[in-house]
Amino acid sequence: MSLEAFARSGELSLGVELELQIVNSHDHDLAPAAADLMRLMKGRRIPGEVKPEITRSMIEMSTGICSHHAQALSELREIRDALVDSADQLDVRLCGGGTHPFQHWPQQRIFEAPRFHELSALYGYLSKQFTVFGQHVHIGCPSADEALVLLHGISRYIPHLIALAASSPFVQGEDTGFHSARLNSVFAFPLSGNAPFVTTWQDFETYFEKMRRTGVVKSMKDFYWDIRPKPEFGTIEVRVLDTPLTVEKAAALAAYIQCLARWIRVEKPFQLDRDDYLPYTYNRFQACRFGLDGTYVDPGSGEHRVLRDEVLASFERVGWHAAELQAEAGLQLLRREVQGDGNDAAWLREVEAREHLLPEVVRQASQRWHGKTP
């Protein structure tokens, strides 16, 4: 299969996908109820879509094409409410968070679908260990070339996004010390990391064709890059976010990305350079490990800054665009978190320190996902 043509999409249009945990109501371990939830969701009218994921304890929800923050938020809420109502009838709960804090991967079961079984056969335990939950944000691009330019521009803000969204401190019952341990699972896959530095679609097609000839990839789906073009939708897809603990946060993160995209497109604030990627993995690691307290190396000046300050500064930079995109409420939510209690990983650690029981941490997190304050 060769690379498909880059579809047309509304410039700066927005789409949000969220991978969710399905947990039982007893000890809040992952529950294999995806097929049941899918059955109950059939026939319900929702704005976006609900799909199964690779293991039976995951489900993915996605909005339709939205133009701004408020629309994305209202769609997310509507789908969330429908899912929660279905889950209630099955006595299971839904939960955000990039990892399940104490699930054991050997217990995960692969969802009954040929593609998932093929992936499972190829990646073995990785596919089960890949029981991690992310948020993907699509940004519409007017053309394929502009999509690649935007992709490399937003790459500078990957650490910001990781630190803001991080919600996976616990894995297999242990505190990993990381804010986003989920991304460590993603790195294990071949073809993860950053997309090659090409800025025209023609060059990208050449690259893809070479990769395809090696037999390493068949389609864009085989790339697990942090940001990848999605020709089918005419978008770029940001994939580094952990699924947050609330739909409000998910909408806010999407709005922040939309603001960054507009700022980069309209103001063209920096020149793209292959060397931008020199500190990339270092910055990414710092954000995963230390969250907002991590160090950020500016790819342009080489200056070292605390990520928290750098994130707050970026809110100022895109302020005007937030007003234009009606995204201020979203940025306000993020600003409050950065200046207040920190990201979702910090919240999860705080609950664990208070309760000393990971099932109780999951219960309180799922309360937040369900739209109730625990």
Binding site: A33, L90, D91, Q107, R109, L357, E360
Partner: protein, 412 residues
């Protein structure tokens, strides 16, 4: 310990001679454990089939458990059932019944329809109305022991497993209450002291509720201070449940109702997840093993002959009644037809719950229990090996059994 403690049974004789008692009990334990391992190694069946088979063999060579259960056998069964019922209760959210009215309807319908079918079948076979009613109520509960143990061994998870626990907890509750009403009716039918009898009933129910609340409170208190996932801390939990059951026996309250209500209260009055090793770890596992041996040993050739056709009719009518209710309501209760079919099969086993209820009835109202006893005991014997195998097949059929049957437990 019990009014008929003078029965010259082997078990009591064993109790009177402690060293011999210990030897026989330990020998049974070893035999059961060996049979369980043998079954697990050579077949894909759950170990409890082996435990039960060991009991069956014991009964065949004349080491059957006395009926009504008494002495050490009764104590072991009470303790094991208490653990299983407390646990099953503690996993049931009554809120689920409110959020899913189809499920509430399923619960009421399967209990009622199963009982009515049994009563109708026995009446058709010219049994007396009293016998038919007694058998109908004793056949109402599904087996908490089989359901809990098979699900645990297979690591089963999913809607069928979850609904099996819910329906089992509920029909056990209905059955114990219905049996009290039947006893009341029986007593007042003979002596016209309705009010006095009602008072006795209310006393026993609210007494059970009160004792259950004390147990639930104590467990919640312990769980907040100790990590119950630890095998040592769980011994305290085990001790609390055992203490409550002993108190229940002493106060002549239902040893089934108290732990079940305590589990339900614990789950439904607090939000915090309570996690402890399934079946209270190794200590509870030993009790559960003994339970299956004793249930397996609860038959004799004479009983089988006496039960005969009536028992076959009971088993068939019960299965059909329960299955019809579950299947008809499966759509409304939001499960697929396949899941409904699997669920109705998981309700088939008739086991220790019925045995304990029968024992209580044999002691409290011997005439009422007299004709029902062989029918119920034969039914239990018919289902004790088939039941667990059917549950296993049903859970596999529903796709709720993981890849590895000996998966690690989740509580760590």
């Amino acid at each position: 310990m019990s009014p008929d403690g003078f029965m010259a049974t082997r078990w009591l004789a064993i109790l009177a001679h402690p060293p011999e008692a210990l030897f026989v009990i330990t020998a049974m334990l070893v035999a059961g454990a060996l049979a369980g391992e043998f079954i697990a190694r050579t077949t894909r069946l759950p170990r409890l089939v082996g435990y039960t088979a060991a009991g069956c063999v014991a009964a065949a060579v004349g080491l059957g458990a006395p009926q009504p259960l008494s002495g050490a056998a009764r104590v072991l069964v009470d303790l094991a059932m208490a653990l299983l019922l407390f646990e099953i209760g503690s996993r049931v959210h009554l809120r689920w019944l409110r959020r899913n009215p189809g499920l509430l309807a399923t619960s009421l319908a399967e209990a009622l329809l199963g009982a009515l079918a049994v009563a109708a079948a026995l009446l058709a076979l010219d049994q007396s109305p009293a016998t038919a009613a007694t058998c109908a109520i004793l056949a109402m509960p599904a087996s908490a022991a089989v359901a809990g143990r098979v699900a645990l061994e297979l690591g089963a998870e999913g809607q069928v497993t979850q609904r099996m626990a819910l329906l089992t907890a509920m029909n056990t509750l209905y059955a114990v209450l219905a049996l009290s009403v039947l006893r009341l009716w029986w007593v007042t039918g003979q002596e016209p002291h309705v009010l006095a009898a009602l008072t006795v009933l209310a006393q026993s129910f609210f007494g059970s509720l009160l004792l259950a609340a004390v147990l639930a409170g104590a467990v919640a208190l312990a769980a907040r201070r100790l990590d119950l996932r630890d095998e040592n801390a769980v011994l305290l939990l085990l001790g609390l449940v055992v203490l409550a059951v002993m108190a229940a026996r002493w106060l002549q309250l239902s040893t089934l109702l108290v732990p079940l209500l305590a589990g339900l209260l614990l789950r439904n009055t607090t939000e915090r997840p309570w996690v402890w090793p399934r079946h209270f770890g190794t200590a509870g596992g030993v009790l559960v093993l003994m339970l299956f041996i004793i249930v397996g040993a609860s038959w004799s050739p004479q009983v089988l002959v006496a039960g005969g056709i009536a028992a076959l009719a009971l088993v068939a009518a019960r299965g059909l009644g329960k299955a019809a209710a579950v299947l008809v309501l499966s759509r409304w209760s939001r499960c697929s037809l396949r899941q409904g079919l699997a669920l109705s099969i998981t309700l088939t086993p008739l086991s220790a719950t019925a045995l304990v209820m029968l024992s209580d009835l044999m002691q409290a109202a011997p005439q009422l229990a007299g004709t029902a006893a062989p029918i119920v005991l034969t039914s239990i014997a018919l289902l004790e090996l088939v039941g667990p195998i059917a549950v296993q097949l049903a859970l596999r059929f529903a796709g709720e059994v993981g890849d590895s049957p000996r998966r690690r437990r989740q509580e760590s």
